[in-house]
């Protein structure tokens, strides 16, 4: 059996990933539909059970029921377990797929390089690696990911726990809630364990800052966390990879731009940041900007934002977080590479470059594919939801992009959709979660060498 799994997962790792996700969702749909899972002891209907299973496994954070009151303690435990499995699963699968892809491409480019004079191409090769990823390696990777998650979530919980005690929450509840909050932050899910959500902590900057750190670490991606931890263990001259630099720089730019835009656009909105003083406005703007990366916590009613801020949020949620992270979206490196390509074009450079490194052409094509696929998913989903709900584009686009980008912020539309709309939203969350991870890898894996070259011709563009 082990051989069979290894063989299948090695030959088509992206299909393997999709099947694992589907099986997890089926299992959790079953668990959530059990009477024992609901607070009232009655069975939850299929649409809500399935939606909750998808939102938990995909760590999206959207909901069609009140997540803090609908479920029993058993149900909450299933949710806690689900987001951990979902988040670790995504991190691990993404890293494995990254490994497979880089090996295949490595091998491929070494083969190509052998036939070419240009020595710069050999840089992308991983020396002497075989193509198959063994199950043993997967186990090692999973362990590393799990330990990282455990350490970070434990640290966050330790920071939150005393604060909750000071706020007068009983020790047992405080322990459970600090674990729950830390998991929801690091996995970028965004559910709250208490019925009134973040409201009690809306001006508790210590609490909110810990959540922001958790969300940021979760959304930055495992490759970057790994680079951080290596730098901590072996201080001194560490070479940061292009991926780490691109992810960090783009994330910081997006965080800052989002914060500034929210500050400006909501400055005089009485329902959001209008009544706050300057510092509070700034902090809450930065908090909201961080949560679009795809944390999903919010201290303000999202449907009270100005339409302009909602459009800004749409764009930030579409971009999402780092590759191989618990965040969703098309990923920050994807948008960075598109802009780098446009800058290269504007400056007349032949190559796309960043940090004195050349980015190969197939990466640009992959980025274009990911964006097109994301935009198509969102367009189809939005058209269906608009037709079903006849709601405004403001709300529909926001909730659909939130589902795709697994952000979990909501205008309230998702909770009010009929069953048909709930299934469409569940499908959108599923596409958003597994899509960028496995689809991109599946595309990259099926590289075929073309021996026959057609003549070149230049159509006019623009």
């Amino acid at each position: 059996f082990r051989d069979a799994v290894e063989d299948f997962s090695g030959r088509s790792p992206s299909r393997f990933a999709v099947i694992v996700f589907v099986l997890l969702i089926v299992l959790f749909t079953f668990l959530f539909s059990l009477p024992i899972s609901s607070a009232t002891g009655t069975s939850t209907n299929l649409a809500d059970s399935l939606f909750t299973a998808v939102t938990v496994i995909c760590v999206t954070g959207l909901s069609t029921v009140d997540m803090a009151t609908h479920w029993s303690f058993f149900g909450e435990a299933v949710i806690y377990l689900g987001v951990q499995i979902g988040a670790l699963g995504v991190l691990t699968l993404a890293s494995i797929l990254g490994l497979v892809v880089s090996r295949r491409l490595g091998l491929r480019s070494r083969i190509l390089a052998a036939g070419e004079a240009d020595p710069s191409r050999t840089h992308s090769g991983v020396a002497g690696a075989s193509q198959a990823v063994r199950l043993g390696e997967v186990g090692g990777l999973l362990a590393t990911v799990a330990v990282s998650a455990l350490v970070i979530e434990g640290g966050l919980a330790l920071l939150l726990f005393p604060r909750m005690l000071i706020d007068g929450i009983p020790v047992g509840t405080a322990a459970l809630q600090s674990l729950y909050y830390s998991a929801m932050a690091f996995t970028n899910t965004g559910f709250t364990p208490n019925a009134d959500g973040l409201a009690p902590y809306a001006s508790d900057y210590y609490f909110l800052t810990v959540l922001m750190i958790g969300v940021f670490l979760g959304s930055i991606g495992f490759p970057v966390i790994y680079a951080f931890s290596r730098a901590l263990r072996t201080p001194g001259r560490n070479q940061w990879s292009l991926h780490v630099k691109l992810t960090l720089v783009t994330s910081v730019i997006l965080l800052g731009a989002g914060g500034i835009l929210y500050f400006a656009l909501e400055f005089s909105n009485p329902a959001t940041f209008g009544p706050l003083n300057g510092f509070d406005k700034g902090f809450q703007s930065l908090f909201l900007s961080t949560m679009t990366r795809s944390g999903g916590f919010s201290t303000i009613p999202i449907d009270q934002l100005n339409g302009s801020s909602m459009l800004v949020t749409d764009m930030l949620m579409f971009i999402g977080g780092g590759s191989a992270s618990t965040a969703g979206g098309i990923k920050v490196t994807t948008i960075a590479i598109l802009f780098l390509a446009a800058f290269a074009e504007a400056r007349g450079n032949d190559q796309v470059q960043a940090f004195r490194r050349r980015i190969p052409v197939d990466i640009l094509r992959l980025a274009v594919s990911v964006v097109l696929w994301g935009a198509s998913t969102i367009a189809i989903s939005a058209i269906i939801i608009l037709q079903i709900s006849k709601a405004s584009l403001d709300d529909v686009l926001f909730d659909v992009i939130s589902a795709f980008g697994t952000s979990g912020l909501s205008t309230g539309l998702t909770a009010s959709l009929p069953d048909a709309g709930v299934y469409v939203m569940a499908a959108t969350m599923f596409m958003g979660r597994i899509g960028t991870v496995t689809f991109a890898a599946a595309l990259a894996l099926r590289q075929r060498r073309q021996l026959f070259q057609n003549p070149e011709e230049r159509p006019i563009v623009g």
Copy 2:
């Protein structure tokens, strides 16, 4: 002076194009602000005069005043002249820039090819061409474009004139209106000379079909029209270029997809196609789909469309028509190349191909640049208009994309904006019109050869 113009336009043709457009807009703003231009004999204010000048010169078709009743006969004549100059100007400038770019690139790729073994690269060179485009050539091109426009508009007017006589319109009015309608169709402007617009012809399929043909011919682009006319003159074995094939196939796919979607989404909308029978629904859906290419005529109240249909329209208007055409948008070849790149990636091909031709990498980068620039323009404009008007995203996105794509369909929002919003919309129309033409060319022109190659590194995408 002639030498000076030649020198400047040769060195920086895109800046030359922008300056020509700005001067035309200034001149027409002055003409529209004259008391003689308005029906009441009073001066029109600056915001409306400027907006009308931009919408006319950019053949957008949006308006802040009632175009059929606000202006005097003199004003209408200025409008007629303006759209002709605007349309011919765009066609000519785009063709000139295309010529310049293809020559520069031709020269450049011949230089590159000389240093390489791969013979396939020489295919893109234009043999023995010098870099500068002489003013004489521009004159010749302008003449060709003007004659084509005259022939097509004349033909359209001859088809419309008898119909108007049959409808009982006096001969003089019918002659003027048929000329006006044919100009508005071929230039893809979309203004109507009569106060009640297309309403009298809303079920006149002969009239609407002539308009559709006019809009389609205008939106397909001069290179394609030229290929058609050559094929008519010399029947037999004509080689259609990749650009012609890509433009035609993509246009037909978009027309068909738009028609089918409108038919399905508006099937039971009582305010639009609901009351019509099956054939009428089909015809009107196809008419609406054609007009998004960027005709701008409409037989139904646009703000009564379902939100789903409006989103479909947003996407079609964003794509727009063919390159070097009177239509706007990012152009059909641009979107085609992005999808071809994604398909190539999905099938594991090393090269982007279409119709047995290889599409070079820099074309993909140009397409990415054009889309990013278009999306950024629309995003910034939409955020500002949302903040100014506090209108719904449905209406704001629609009118902003209509302005960018010079489509001219409107939910009515543009006419109700305060002056600040009117200036933003005017800027959006200007960016949409000159942008894809001159920006893309400007980018492509400044090709610089890079001698130093940085080492390659592969960031993770998606």
